[in-house]
Each structure stands twice: as structure tokens, then as C-alpha cells.
């Protein structure tokens, strides 16, 4: 069973979002997603300054057998990207909710967060998917 921390918000396409104390949000992919993809060999993160719409393809995660777009769960401006992943994409596998974060946004409308799944609802999505 994969880890699904409470306190985060999720999309059914397996992205997670964490609201930080400064009002920004951090985005990554879930433990379930990294497990399904297998060992990541390449991660492409968005450039700082890029404006993203909700649901826009923002990043790409690539393993030897799959490549997947990562969608932005909410709209906003990219304020940082995890450049460490360029040299060490495996961080997404080993620590998907920590050092394996992908990018940070300054949200356009923080209210959009409430439309996302909570941990419990996401756990159901994962359960469905692994059936």
C-alpha cells in the first residue's frame, strides 16, 4: 500500500499539492504514481515565471517504460522548480512528498484548492486503480 499523507490535496491523475505557510503551493506526484512508473530516468520541470492554467501540462516524468505529463492542479505562476531532479530524478522515487517535489506555484485563486481530492478520497482512487 502506498503512502498518502493526510493534509495534502490530490488530483485523480496522481499529482499532490501542499499549501505552504507563505501562501504558495508545492506540487509533486504521489507515491502510488512513482511506484507505477518505476525508476525515473528523467524529469522536466517548468521554467520559473511561466503562467499555468489549471490542468495545464506542466512537467514530464519519464521512466524506461513510460512517460507521463504532470498537470498543474490549480492555476498560478511558477515561482520555483526542483532543479536537483536534473541530476537525480530518483529523488521522486525515494521521497515523492519531500525532496522529490517538482515545482512551486503562486496560486491565482487559492480557493481552487478546495475542489481537489483529500487524502481519503484519493486513497479510494488508488484502490480503484490497483484493482
Amino acid at each position: 500500500m502506498s503512502a498518502i499523507p493526510s493534509g495534502l490535496k490530490f488530483m485523480d491523475s496522481h499529482e499532490w499539492v501542499r499549501l505552504e505557510s507563505d501562501g504558495s503551493v508545492t506540487i509533486g506526484i504521489s507515491d502510488h504514481a512513482q511506484d507505477a512508473l518505476g525508476d525515473l530516468v528523467f524529469v522536466e520541470v517548468p521554467e520559473a515565471g511561466r503562467m499555468l492554467d489549471k490542468g495545464a501540462a506542466a512537467a514530464v516524468v519519464e521512466s524506461v517504460k513510460a512517460a507521463s505529463d504532470v498537470y498543474s492542479p490549480i492555476a498560478g505562476e511558477v515561482i520555483a522548480a526542483n532543479d536537483a531532479l536534473g541530476a537525480a530524478p530518483e529523488l521522486v522515487n525515494s521521497d515523492p512528498y519531500g525532496q522529490g517535489w517538482l515545482f512551486k506555484l503562486k496560486p491565482r485563486d487559492i480557493g481552487e484548492l478546495s475542489g481537489l481530492l483529500d487524502a481519503q478520497a484519493y486513497a479510494k482512487v488508488v484502490e480503484e486503480a490497483s484493482r
Binding site: D39, V41, F42, E62, S63, V64, K65, P89
Partner: protein
């Protein structure tokens, strides 16, 4: 077995002198255009070259050496005559832009090939130009797009693709500037007609289908599919990947398809060459005739009764989608297909599908009896079928990849694994018509032996292969620490 890189044989100043032109004239070249330092190519003797590449060849599995039941790839015998006759010196020496008057023999073969392909597919016109299956697909979708545009029907930019389709189908649609719409497949392997009805509409450009499908079963309601798509104003594209299953039995044109590409390297037995060259001739019905990619080969009867062959280009087909290759596609591959078709003849062409289907159904029946799970147990196999190893994966921890790798130790090339994506832990098995019964029996025996081994010693199977030049390779390292060319210590 291990063969070092050719560069390791290199010694400064060693040359295969017999291959050089006799004199070395001075270059007539201003300094600024000149190469300053020679490229890093090996400096080796002729024997070293021959020995190195002969040894490398021996590291390969191939049709000539091994049973190669790679699903959807139709690895049948490549008759040697086809190769030898396509390599007659006159054909090899012919310049592609030499006048048609100096290529009547070659052009006659190409014209007859066009005609034969029209006949076996039930189409009205054929272009031999596309250089591979994927380029044939491109030509097909580009023609569909050109057809709608010529009718000022500009909103039609959606290409419908079944979820079981080969990855080239959606990739091709994107390359042609179309949007991909997926439709699901029913549990029995047929397309979901209700879902199809929901996505059809004024934006539908066409649908891409493989029949028999990538699931190895015949789409039984193809007539209904064709009627629905045509009613909605769309056209039907036939992906010829599985044409071997129906050659001489059913013609795509009769099923209602408007355009087809053929993989000559599958159905018509031209060599796969370690991943090419292919050849992806396209055939079209009446509506798409004006859009065929050029050049085509035409002919005129002279007063003497003799035919004269000539090229047809944009002057003859002003609405063509254009040229896809610098000349006329993979001419040498086309010659091989021509020789093959002449050797099969009318009756032989029909036997292809019959015996390919017999072999597949026999192999399927034997594996079913041996206790393997079939993905579509209630359906006939076409020329290929799918075994699913989901149960073995769950119970023994041995998956399709493990079975595939262990088969290599038994001297069989593995079937296609993990395609189609819909079936978990799948082996897509295509024996082709040119394999003898005892080879099929030996393949079944190998799979049974692997199954027993998996039950007793799963780790053994998971560590396979053991007898090949290398064991399982580290794909993750290959993709992360990219080593795409040899770097010498020369700075």
C-alpha cells in the same frame, strides 16, 4: 561471447589499401572550407572488418536461425531468391533519376506490383512511395485530411483510434495535425459500437482500424462500423499490420475501407533488416485517388502493342499530398516484394492466410491444453493470439518479461510482450505460415518447461537469460547515464 568495439582494433596507419582509388590528387579547396582534423573512424585491415562484423552477426537471433514468433511483426521466411534478384547489377546500378526510357524493366515490375496490390486489397489505386508502415499511415491520414479540405469541410480534424491500437496510429494523427479520440474495446475484443456512435460527428475526419485487431481477433461488425463512420462523413483507414491474417480471404476494400497501408516487410516477406528498411505502400478507394503521394508508375500502350512505362507526378495528380521521399521510396524492397508475389501466385497468396491462421490456432489450442490462460478464450485466433500470464505473475511472481527472457535460453525469440497495453502480462504470439508443426510443438514444450521451472524455482526464471552474449541489461542506467557513442581518449 563478446566482441570488442571495432575501434579497439584500430592502429594508426593501418589501411584496407585495396579499397582506395589508385591516386590521391591534391584538394582544390580554399582553407576555410576544409576539415582540419580527420574524423575518428577505425584504422583496420579488411580481414579485421570482415571478422568483426561477421562475429557481431552471430550475436543476433534472426528468422534464418531461430523461430521468431514476434506478434504483429509477421516474421516469416524471407526467400533468398527475392534478395538475389533484386540485387541484379542492373537494378543496383540504376540511378533513380535516370530517364524512364532507361528503366523499363524496373518500371514494369513496379507497375505490376501496383496492380497486384490493388487486386489483393480491393483498392482502386496504389502508391508504392511510403518508406515504412508509419510513413504509409502518415500518407493515409494526410490523404483523409486533404480530402475533407478539398471539399471545404474544414472542421473535420478528429481521428478516432481504438484503445488497443498500435502507438503509431495516434502518433500519426498528431503528425498530421489531427486530434486523437479514443474508443474503448469490449471484453470480447470487438469495438464498442455505442461508444463509437457517441464520438462520431461533424468533426470526425476518420477512424483508424486494424482488422484483425491488435488483440488477434477479427472485428465481426466491420460493416456496421463502416456504415456508421461513412454516415457521419468520415473515412475509414485500414492499418495493414495484420494483413497476413486475411490475405486472399477478405479484402479491406470490400470491408468498406477507403485507404490502407501495407507493410511489405511483413505480409510480402521483405527482410526486416534489424529494424528496417520497411516499405509501406498505400492503397485507396475512388474518393482518395486524386490525393495519392507521388510518384506513381503509369503505362501507355504503343502502336506495336508494347507497353511503355512512365512516372506520374504533380502534373498528373495536382491534388497529391506530395512527395514523401527524395526519389520513389524503397525501390529495392519493392522489387523483393514483387518477386515474392510472383512466386506465390494467385493460389499461393490465399494459402498465406490459411496456413498462418492454422498455425496460430494450433499453437493456441496446444497452449490452452497445457494450462495457459488465453486473453480471448472464446474467440478464434487470427494469425496471432494472446496468452496472459497475469495468474503466474500473481501466484509465482514470474511475469511476461521473465517468460520472454527464459524463452531465449531455449533458443526461441520471445513473442511480443506488453503489447497490446489492454491485456496485462501478455505474450502476443504470431507463428506465421512458414513454420513447421514440429517447431510449433517444440515452442509449446519450451513454454511448459518454463512454467514448471517457475513453479519450482521462480528465481531461476527471473534471472534469465543465462546462455546469451549478455544477461539482462540495466535499462535505467542506459537512460540516466547516456552513453550513445564511443569516446576515445583523443582530446
Amino acid at each position: 561471447m563478446h566482441e570488442p568495439l571495432i575501434f579497439s582494433y584500430s592502429r594508426p596507419g593501418r589501411v584496407a589499401a585495396g579499397q582506395y582509388p589508385p591516386v590521391a590528387p591534391p584538394l582544390e579547396l580554399p582553407q576555410k572550407f576544409r576539415r582540419r582534423r580527420r574524423a575518428l573512424l577505425p584504422e583496420v585491415s579488411e580481414l579485421q572488418v570482415v571478422r568483426h562484423f561477421t562475429r557481431l552477426s552471430q550475436l543476433n537471433f534472426s528468422i534464418d536461425t531461430h523461430f521468431y514468433p514476434l506478434g504483429s511483426c509477421t516474421m516469416k521466411y524471407n526467400p533468398r531468391a527475392c534478395n538475389q534478384l533484386a540485387m541484379l547489377p542492373q537494378f543496383l546500378g540504376r540511378h533513380p533519376l535516370a530517364p524512364a526510357s532507361m528503366g523499363q524493366g524496373f518500371l514494369a515490375c513496379m507497375h505490376e506490383l501496383q496492380e497486384m496490390l490493388k487486386e489483393v486489397t480491393g483498392m482502386k489505386g496504389v502508391s508504392l512511395t511510403p518508406m515504412a508502415g508509419a510513413q504509409g499511415e502518415f500518407a493515409g491520414v494526410a490523404m483523409i485530411r486533404a480530402y475533407h479540405r478539398a471539399r471545404a469541410d474544414l472542421d473535420r480534424n478528429e481521428i478516432i483510434v481504438p484503445d488497443a491500437a498500435h502507438g503509431t496510429n495516434p502518433a500519426t494523427a498528431t503528425m498530421c495535425g489531427c486530434k486523437v479520440v479514443e474508443v474503448p474495446t469490449l471484453e470480447n475484443g470487438d469495438i464498442d459500437l455505442e461508444a463509437l456512435k457517441r464520438v462520431l460527428g461533424p468533426r470526425t475526419a476518420g477512424i483508424m482500424l486494424t482488422n484483425p485487431s491488435t488483440l488477434g481477433v477479427f472485428e465481426r461488425r466491420i460493416h456496421e462500423v463502416a456504415a456508421l463512420v461513412h454516415q457521419a462523413g468520415g473515412l475509414l483507414y485500414y492499418d495493414g499490420a495484420n494483413l497476413n491474417a486475411i490475405l486472399g480471404k477478405v479484402r479491406p476494400g470490400d470491408m468498406g475501407f477507403d485507404v490502407i497501408h501495407m507493410n511489405l516487410h511483413k505480409t510480402f516477406s521483405t527482410p526486416h533488416g534489424g529494424g528496417g528498411p520497411g516499405s509501406g505502400a498505400v492503397g485507396v478507394g475512388q474518393r482518395l485517388l486524386p490525393f495519392l503521394p507521388i510518384p506513381l508508375v503509369g503505362r501507355k500502350q504503343e502502336d506495336t502493342g508494347q507497353y511503355r512505362y512512365h512516372w506520374l507526378d504533380e502534373r498528373d495528380l495536382p491534388q497529391t499530398i506530395g512527395r514523401l521521399s527524395a526519389f520513389m521510396g524503397n525501390a529495392g524492397v519493392l522489387l523483393r516484394a514483387y518477386v515474392y508475389m510472383r512466386m506465390l501466385g494467385r493460389a499461393g497468396m490465399q494459402r498465406v492466410a490459411e496456413y498462418a491462421t492454422l498455425n496460430a490456432n494450433y499453437l493456441m489450442a496446444r497452449l490452452r491444453q497445457a494450462g495457459f490462460d488465453l486473453a480471448y478464450p472464446h474467440r478464434r485466433a487470427s494469425h496471432e493470439f494472446i496468452v496472459t500470464l497475469k495468474r503466474q505473475e500473481k501466484e509465482l511472481g514470474v511475469n511476461a518479461m521473465d517468460f520472454a527472457k527464459r524463452l531465449l535460453d531455449h533458443g526461441f525469440h520471445a513473442p511480443t510482450t506488453y503489447f497490446p497495453l489492454l491485456v496485462p502480462e501478455c505474450l502476443l504470439i504470431e507463428p506465421t505460415e512458414t513454420e513447421a508443426k514440429e517447431d510449433l510443438d517444440a515452442f509449446v514444450a519450451a513454454l511448459i518447461a518454463i512454467q514448471r521451472e517457475a513453479e519450482q524455482d521462480a528465481a531461476k526464471v527471473k534471472g534469465a537469460p543465462y546462455t546469451l552474449p549478455v544477461r539482462r541489461l540495466d535499462d535505467v542506467r542506459a537512460a540516466k547515464q547516456l552513453d550513445l557513442s564511443y569516446q576515445s581518449d583523443r582530446s
